[in-house]
Amino acid sequence: MPILKRKNPVDFSFSLVTALAALTILFLVGGIFIVLLRESSLAIGKFGLFDFLLSTEWNPVNNEFGAATAVYGTFVTTCIALIIAIPVAIGIAVFVTEIAPDFLKGPIGIAIELLAAIPSIIYGMWGLFTLAPLMARYVEPALQKSVGKLPVVGALFQGTPMGIDLFTASVILSIMIIPFTASISRDSFNLTPGIVKESAYAVGATKWEVIKDVVLPYSKLGVFGGIALSLGRALGETMAVAFVLGNNHQITSSLFDAAATITVTLANEFTEADTDMYLSSLFNLALVLFALSFVVLAIAKFFLLKAERRYSR
């Protein structure tokens, strides 16, 4: 440990300062966890940790709370967002790294980063005033007329298309996470050594074959990491979704129904939560999200570390 080698006082104090800075992070994470745990103790005490997770009841009037509806909403919106975002993001990354002429690479790269820099409240307002009406008028009726007629899958597209539903929320989320996945995938693709690709071309592989058999397998883990990071972002996204999800605590089979996610519930109900149990239950929800995000990020880190190890080999 460099801290322990007291060779030079300047060096030592420098190490100490950086170590303190790093410790602050640990302290903050620990502090947040402890506060969440303490604030939610009332709800955990009354409902029990597992019953709280499994209960679909969210009724502030009767002071009965359960996380199942919010966890379900979070899960569904995140999954659909990923299903939409991953192919698009990988397409963007492949285009930028392998196909686009040099003069296009810069502008597209900047556009992706700009997309990531737009504050989520702007996505929310755009979603409410622009995307939701478009979804209600064109996209959702069209889906109902086509895939909605299929036997099993059709159940996902029932109901009156209102534009405030799981589907619209997922589309907004996917737009928000595309830049993350795309830029991390791009960086991973760029790590493929030129010599490997050139060898592939030399033995007569086409561009498609090079991408499919050389670049993608080589950067697989990096892409997984990128996806997991986007997953983390999608789990925690609040304002954009709050405007178009409706915050109805229900579990429905149709994607055209309003639902709730953990973050939307927190944003919508925190300011006016009037009883202690209500507030404590919201903190308990936050704790659930904290744990979820922690697990997701741990998985992401695992893949990214594995990828790094492979590249440095």
């Binding site: 009724n59 209102m162 006016e272």
Partner: protein, 336 residues
Amino acid sequence: MKKIILILAIATLAALSSHAMAEEILNGAGASFPAPVYQAWAYEYNKATGARLNYQSIGSGGGVRQIVSRTVDFGASDDPIKPEQLKKDNLLQFPAVIGGVVPIVNVPGMKAGELKLDAEALCKIFLGEIKYWDDAKIKGLNTQAKLPHNEITVVHRSDGSGTTALFTNYLSATCPVWKSKVGEGKAVKWPVGIGGKGNEGVANYVKRTPHSIGYVEFAYAKQSKLAHTQLKNKAGNFVEPGFDSFEDAAAAGDFDPKKDFSTWLTNTPGKNSWPIAGATFILLAKDKKDANIKTVKFFDWAFKNGDTTAKSLTYVPLPTTLKDKVRAYWKTNGVY
């Protein structure tokens, strides 16, 4: 986190202003609904007297918590706190302005104020029991109107709000089924419908969705071009939402200084009363006399000089009789 930022913001503001000049400064926090009128009053009060008032619109729940922990000079809440609770937290409470909730509809061909509803119809629509606009119940109230056979889309608030508390209080007061099935509160478990975020979210959805019904704050209904409904009040008359019918509701309200004015103005018996109204309240900490005297001075000034401002912002000022009752209440509690 939000709380920390807020405390920092208040601290910074306080530090900055006390630095600038040693003047009177009042800090209040709470309900977001009356925030525009409090801030407008504060601006004019500052011009008239030089005293400053800093109001943070953080929501009623936050306002109550802040005054209970004594971090602000006064709190503001959209719903009345019960006398027992006030006693427990050693607080005083008085009304400041009147607000109300107005149902808004989007029925093609139906003009503003044309549709007539009563408590039972409204309740059954929001319960999902009345499903179509040409239901016999609605038809019976609107004999001349042409009602389409279309499904009703119910729009409610997705966030916790005083508007919802008032609306559900009215439904609970007038409709036993609602009371037992749903109940009242700032956020309830809605049997049907979709949720819009904020008044603007509900208004936007009603505006865009044909055959929908929602409810918004009176000021919001008045400013935006949405078709409101008439409602049948307790006296049996159909009334339009407006300054007159709100003032009538306030005058007919059961404001009892002995109960710290704790009352809703829903389903009041006045002949011309709008049935879904309510006062928004100010909370004072009994043990902070200096701050209370300053706060009361501000509201006394606002009661005298602020009616025009309030009305221009579509808030309903308290009727004179109620203002006098509030002044008497201040006097009894030694802060006036």
